[in-house]
Amino acid sequence: MSGPLLSVQDLRVTFAPGAPGQPPARAVDGVSFALAAGGSLAIVGETGSGKTTLARALLGLHPAGSVSGSVQLGGQELVELDEGRWRPLRWKRIALAVQNAGTAFDPVYRMGEQIVEPLREHLGLSSAEAAARAAALVAQVGLAERHLRAYPHQLSGGEKQRLMLAMALSCEPEILIVDEPTSGQDMLARAQVIALLRHIRAQRGTALLLISHDLAAVAQLAEQVAVLYAGKLAEVGAARDVLSAPRHPYTWGLLNAYPNMSTARDLSGIRGQMPDPAHPPTGCRFHPRCTQAVDKCRRVEPPLQAHGGRLLACHLGGLQALLRADGLRKTFTTNGHLGPAQNIEAVRDVSLEVYEGEVVGLVGETGSGKSTLGRLLVGLLSPEAGSIAFEGNPLALNNSSASKRLRRRIQLIPQDPFDSVSPYLSVGQIVREPLDVQGTDTPVKRAEQVQDALAAVGLPTLDAFLARHPHELSGGQLQRVVIARALVLEPKLIVADEPVSMLDASEQAKLITLLKAIQNERGIGLLLISHDLALVRKVADRILVMRDGQIIEGGPSSRVIAQPQHDYTRALLRAAPSFDWYSASSNGDRP
């Protein structure tokens, strides 16, 4: 067949307002995609993004007049078909396995009767033929004939899910739409459904349109992925590319919120809420929740454009590299009092990137050059070679106002809080100092900012506390003060150099959780420098391993932890604290 089997162009589904005078709800708002015969496409997005509405539109299940645009099935236009013309298409050519299989069956009829219904309706089978076909179908989904004799309430959710699939497959449709086949199921049932769908596709060549927020299922079932947000497509591309290297900030957020076994990182939801479809925000619909939104995002709606082998709807071309360092080099020379002067290459030809909203862990043993690299990045040291760009602008180590403005957006949290604050200043003064130095706002405004920053790190904002001096605080409190000092300038990037190494385990856990929460809420990029791999892997999206001034390995946390490429990384992993005495007692080595 020439052209795709299913071609959707500028599909819109608009629901009449709940009350007169209200604007209509635009549940699906200009979606285009194509599905080849035998192909597979997953539509992913949060609850309320319009996935299910889209699926139902493809079967003409919405009230007449609510759907516009074009849906073509093998060249035949489906939008605006009347009910009588839709009927022969439904289930025979496009079948839908709905989301809630638990309520998808008529409670007063046996399962068999319900599965047989479309067979008799569309294929005109006799009741004996239809019954034989139904028996074959249930066998295919791994159930027995007794399930056909059962009423819906007598079966478990997993069984109903399979029977739903059996029913959807009954007329051998060209396109099978499966809406959330795995939601609400235990892991084993889920794995069985995925295996079943793969088997069906392999056997029959049915084109699959998968609607899901289960990204792991998507990865296993779909070749293509379309990310739907508030009724619009945000990113479309090959599943492997999109899920392993998301470009749209929303896709990135979805992946961060998704629990899986290949990362040990804690989950973080996407900040904010899905917009009300009756009152979508202007410009890019994701901008209120996007951490990198610029003015244009608020005003102009981004078109879905080809971008590096995929389609992307983002003015900024997707996630921004917040910080880009190229070929950095730093050499220290010993003063020669204790012997001949020596050159120590602390940082050798290091290049790295930190993306918007990303946590990058930089690990390595003491003396590997981590802290030097951190100081280069925030501009406390200047490199001998190489360049640093922040949000695309070169970062020069001078006192020009442009450079100052950039610099205030990168903040350092140093290793030892007692070392980094003046013992003569009060808490209030410590936190306000950066504001005073930058000299931007009125004193009243600055006091407010100080209060906000202290509140953000969970410290009291009382005057009595503001008047305290460092020696009156605990280590954990002082480190929070230092974090507040970093936050007060509202940075886009924080370089945290062993921010919790001086603290006990409980205080470490609290602070690292706090840092992660602040990072997620404000969309700050975080470069976390630490020797503690066990800690880093709890928060980092990517891990870079540094040794002797060079980055020897880098990649997604999951990969670095599970399949370290470098012997040094393996050594670090072995040395990381672990309570794993089972494997330790057997061979003394971790797998």
């Binding site: 439904r90 309520t103 309430h153």
Partner: protein, 323 residues
Amino acid sequence: MKRRALGFLVSLWAVLTLNFLLPRLLPGDPLAALLDPNSSAYVFNSTTRASLAAYYGLDRPLAQQYADYLAGALQGDLGQSIRLNQPVGELLRAHLPWTLLLTLTALGAASLLGVLGGAEAAWRRGSAADKALVAASVIASNAPVVFTGMILLIVFGAKLDWLPLAGGRTAFARYDTPWDAARDYAAHLVLPAATLTLALVGSKFLLVRNSMIGVLGEDYMLVARAKGLSTGRLKRHHALRNAIVPFVHHLAAHAGFALTGALFIETLFNYPGMGRLVFESVVARDYPLIQGVFVVVSVLVLSANLLADWLSYRLDPRLREAP
């Protein structure tokens, strides 16, 4: 279902017991009137009084009286009407069939109209026809039966003279064929039954419409549509089939209301059912007869509920496994 049947028997026993106890709980005893010097039935001779009490069995222990009463009631002996001096059971046997004929005809007609109309209105929810039907059913179910009955009488009985004004059959008529008999009975039935149907149809229509609207929003209806089934199959096989389940229970609960409505209508149309009997016995404080009617109506309502339970048990497989 066994539990339901057992519940029916327990309720029946409770009704009969209540019927036995109520007059005995009233101040005085059933012979109180005989002791009241102001009563016309005053009997000053204590020997006569004692023999009367013995005649009615009132001198025996309460338990003995209760056992005799139950045994009598179960054999259809509900005592003697004071006013008519006839056995209550006989009176009921003469009048009850008329009332049942009227009530069941009206219930049947109202159910048919309510179910078909309700299903269609729900299917076309929001249309002009739907709105008109909802308004009409609200008015019909709230109008007093006496009022609607009068109007029907005046229009079809008096003005148009299509139908007989009163009675259950033409007096002194002799029928040549059963067909003639049926025609005569039916002609007398039309107006009272229509009046009662109008009183009953509104709530049935609204109930079916509402439960049908609920069913139409269910996921399984969406799936049924997605399966490409015909409109008729969607409407009847899936939607109405589910919407009918609550209706069955409503019908049973409504049986008592229908019966009392029938009693009013019977007096209006001078229909030979229990209506006249009840009103006259209330006026004359004919307690045995009133109690007899009470028992019969209770048994009818209980039976209707048992029937509804059995029907919904047949209709909804989910109930079959409920404890």
